[in-house]
């Protein structure tokens, strides 16, 4: 079921999230794409259907806002989520424009974060296939 794109400049956390999401979505595991660059993000968004884009906010030369703006342009139906270690970094006005599925998430509760991701996957999936409601 579904597909998630996780964007982070540190590879270990998306790897851990991908593993967790796959285990929790057995036996029909959710597909997880990972990227640490805008080029990689664009390549995925232009070639793969994605239900959820989850991105870290601080990403070196670009930021989570850039990722989600591109996501909104390429796949507007995909739910958009941000997680961050520095909640104060994100300009509130940009949040409104990004139309997030949930307010920015923190890294303190990773199980809760995965719950929100899976909830977002289901929401997009339901939108895509309205008659085919399945629970995760």
């Amino acid at each position: 079921m579904g597909a998630v794109l996780i964007v982070d400049d540190e590879p270990a956390l998306p790897r851990a999230l991908a593993l967790s999401i796959r285990v929790r979505t057995r036996p029909d595991p959710c597909k997880v794409h990972k990227s640490d660059s805008m080029e990689g993000v664009e390549a995925v968004l232009r070639s793969e259907p994605v239900d959820v884009v989850l991105t870290d906010y601080r990403l070196g030369s670009f930021n989570g806002g850039d990722v989600l703006r591109l996501a909104k342009a390429c796949q507007p139906q995909a739910r958009r989520l941000i997680y961050t270690g520095f909640p104060g970094d994100i300009p509130p006005e940009s949040l409104e424009a990004l139309e997030l599925f949930r307010p920015p998430l923190t890294k303190d509760d990773m199980d809760g974060l995965i719950d929100v991701v899976l909830e977002a996957v289901e929401a997009t999936d339901l939108q895509r296939h309205p008659g085919d409601a399945t629970s995760l």
Partner: protein
């Protein structure tokens, strides 16, 4: 006259027979003395009353009896103005004159043809001598008052003051010197005659001894008084030469200052500033810990899940082995198929394929937390001022690891370390210097980034140079305005916006570097940004000559005026 222009106050007493006024010749002679004020009195009591009312310079009696003179002399007392008697008759006997002198008159003149000359001369001499005596007494009193003032002044100073000869033998010590060197006020007197080198042996051949012997002035000598088992007392010494009236050098005046409180204050300020710098990086550090903790906690769930799957499959494997042992081949085939289905349902290939990476990632994440906590706890340690041999590269690297947490998203941190010889230093203090400079560089880059640049760059370099080691930090931030270069090490000087700094970081860094016998130099880079260069001698500021006395001498920073 004794004092030109000063009015001479004269009491002129005439015997109180109710008939005679002073003889005109007497009165006129006195009036011709110059500026005079003459009060006429008719008896001893009136004369005494006058003397208590007016400071008289002279009492003249005209034709008074010796008994009156004696009464006057008694009543007016020791500080009385001189008594000048004019004899009653012309041609009076020598006995009469002698009686008047015995009674207390300092001179007795005849009212004869020479009256004017004799009276004038005697009056002038009397007034002059009296005024001289009075001035001498007043001067003596003034000198005594001045002595008392100086004594009180010196005793009340909370700086120890010692007068010593050219060999360092103490001639005089004030109260504070007694308290510092003797431990008690009573010991001030006991200090006299002892040599200064009993307390500061290394100073006999050091700066203080040389200044005393050569008559040079020195100040800012910092040394320690080592007192057996008790903690050493940091002491500041200054010396000014002392000469006698023939300009011969006879020793010097030394001030000693107990620097314990000053050192404690400096230490508190340094610690406060260090905590403030930790405050600035705490967000970065929290993130640096939160990230690996997120990796570990995210991985724990699939690891737990994978182990549970392995346990389930393993229990089926147990049944399979039993079936093989019993050679129940049909059951074996069924169980083998079940195990395959179970493994597929549990996604075991994937889980087991990825678990080693999850464990490796988690291990690496835990290691990162351990490092950052170690670096932080090293940095946060309370500084005891202890100097030991260390590698400057380690100080720079460990501090850069902490600071990197703050700046990694906006700054590229480049390192160019040379292999360095060991450096005698307080590594805690040097880390504080590196942290201050890194935070300054970061804040300067952030200021510039707010205007144009996307990312900043900081380069850390170390190398051997000039018999010591050099550390350089270059940034491409806002740079330092030319007019600010000479102020940047002043305490409380800051160009940062409110809340970003109070202006102590560079002042403290400057003091630490100088305390290690080195220097710190700022430069504006041609292409923008700033470079701070620090040089440190390998021995941490303790020259070879001082090594022998290292245990007794502390840091010594001296200026000598020649």
């Amino acid at each position: 006259m004794a004092e030109a222009g000063a009015v001479i106050r004269i009491g002129l007493m005439t015997p109180s027979d109710g008939v005679r006024a002073p003889r005109p010749s007497v009165l006129e002679t006195l009036q011709r003395l110059g500026a005079v004020e003459i009060d006429l009195v008719s008896d001893v009591a009136a004369c005494c009353a006058l003397a208590t009312r007016i400071p008289l310079d002279l009492v003249v009696t005209d034709a008074a009896a010796p008994a009156d003179i004696a009464s006057l002399s008694d009543l007016l007392g020791e500080d009385a103005p001189p008594l000048l008697a004019v004899l009653p008759e012309v041609g009076a006997s020598g006995a009469e004159r002698a009686a008047l002198l015995r009674a207390g008159a300092y001179e007795a003149v005849e009212a004869g043809p020479e009256l004017e000359r004799d009276l004038r001369d005697a009056a002038r001499d009397g007034v002059r001598d009296f005024r001289r005596g009075r001035d001498f007494v007043a001067a003596t009193q003034r000198v005594r008052a001045l002595e008392r003032y100086h004594e009180n002044f010196l005793e009340s100073l909370n700086i120890a003051l010692l007068e010593v000869d050219v060999d360092g033998v103490i001639r005089h010590a004030n109260l504070t010197a007694g308290v510092i060197l003797g431990g008690r006020e009573e010991s001030v007197a006991a200090l006299a005659g002892r040599r200064l080198w009993e307390w500061f042996p290394e100073q006999e051949d050091g700066t203080t001894g040389a200044c005393l012997r050569s008559g040079q002035k020195c100040q800012g000598v910092e040394t320690e008084w080592v007192r057996g088992e008790a903690p050493p007392v940091p002491v500041g010494l200054a010396c000014a030469p002392l000469h006698d009236e023939h300009e011969q050098l006879i020793g010097g005046v030394l001030t000693l200052q107990d620097l314990t409180e000053q050192r404690q204050f400096q230490e508190r300020t340094r610690q406060t500033e260090k905590l403030a710098s930790l405050g600035k990086i705490v967000g970065g550090v929290a993130h640096e810990i939160r990230n690996p903790m997120a990796i570990i906690s995210t991985n724990l769930s699939p690891i737990r899940d994978g182990l549970e799957a392995v346990r389930e499959v393993w229990s089926e494997v147990g049944a399979l082995r039993a079936a093989i042992g019993a050679e129940e081949w049909t059951l074996v085939a069924t169980l083998a198929e079940q195990i395959g289905d179970q493994a597929a349902a549990l996604d075991l290939d994937f889980v087991l394929g990825d678990l080693p990476a999850a464990v490796a990632d988690s291990t690496e994440a835990a290691e990162r937390v351990r490092h950052i906590v170690n670096d932080l706890s090293d940095f946060g340690q309370r500084d005891t001022g202890h100097h030991d041999w260390a590698d400057l590269n380690d100080c720079v690297e460990s501090t850069a690891n902490i600071a990197r947490t703050l700046m990694k998203h906006s700054v590229d941190l480049e390192k160019d370390y040379a292999t360095l010889p060991p450096l005698r230093c307080s590594s805690l203090q040097l880390k504080q210097v590196v942290m201050n400079l890194l935070i300054n560089a970061y804040q300067s880059i952030e200021q510039r980034r707010a205007k144009d640049a996307p990312r900043g760059r900081v380069v850390l370099r170390t190398r051997e140079a000039g018999g010591g080691v050099e550390f350089e930090i270059e940034d491409d931030g806002m740079g330092i305005a030319e007019e600010n270069l000479k102020y940047i090490f002043d305490p409380y000087f800051t160009t940062k916006e409110g809340g970003e700094g109070v202006g102590l970081g560079l002042a403290i860094s400057h003091k630490i570097v100088h305390g290690h016998g080195g220097w710190i130099q700022p430069e504006s880079n041609a292409g923008g940004g700033a470079t701070f260069r620090i040089w440190l001698p390998l021995d941490g500021g303790r020259g070879e000559a001082k090594t022998a006395n290292e245990s007794a001498s502390g840091d010594e920073r001296v200026s000598v005026d020649r």
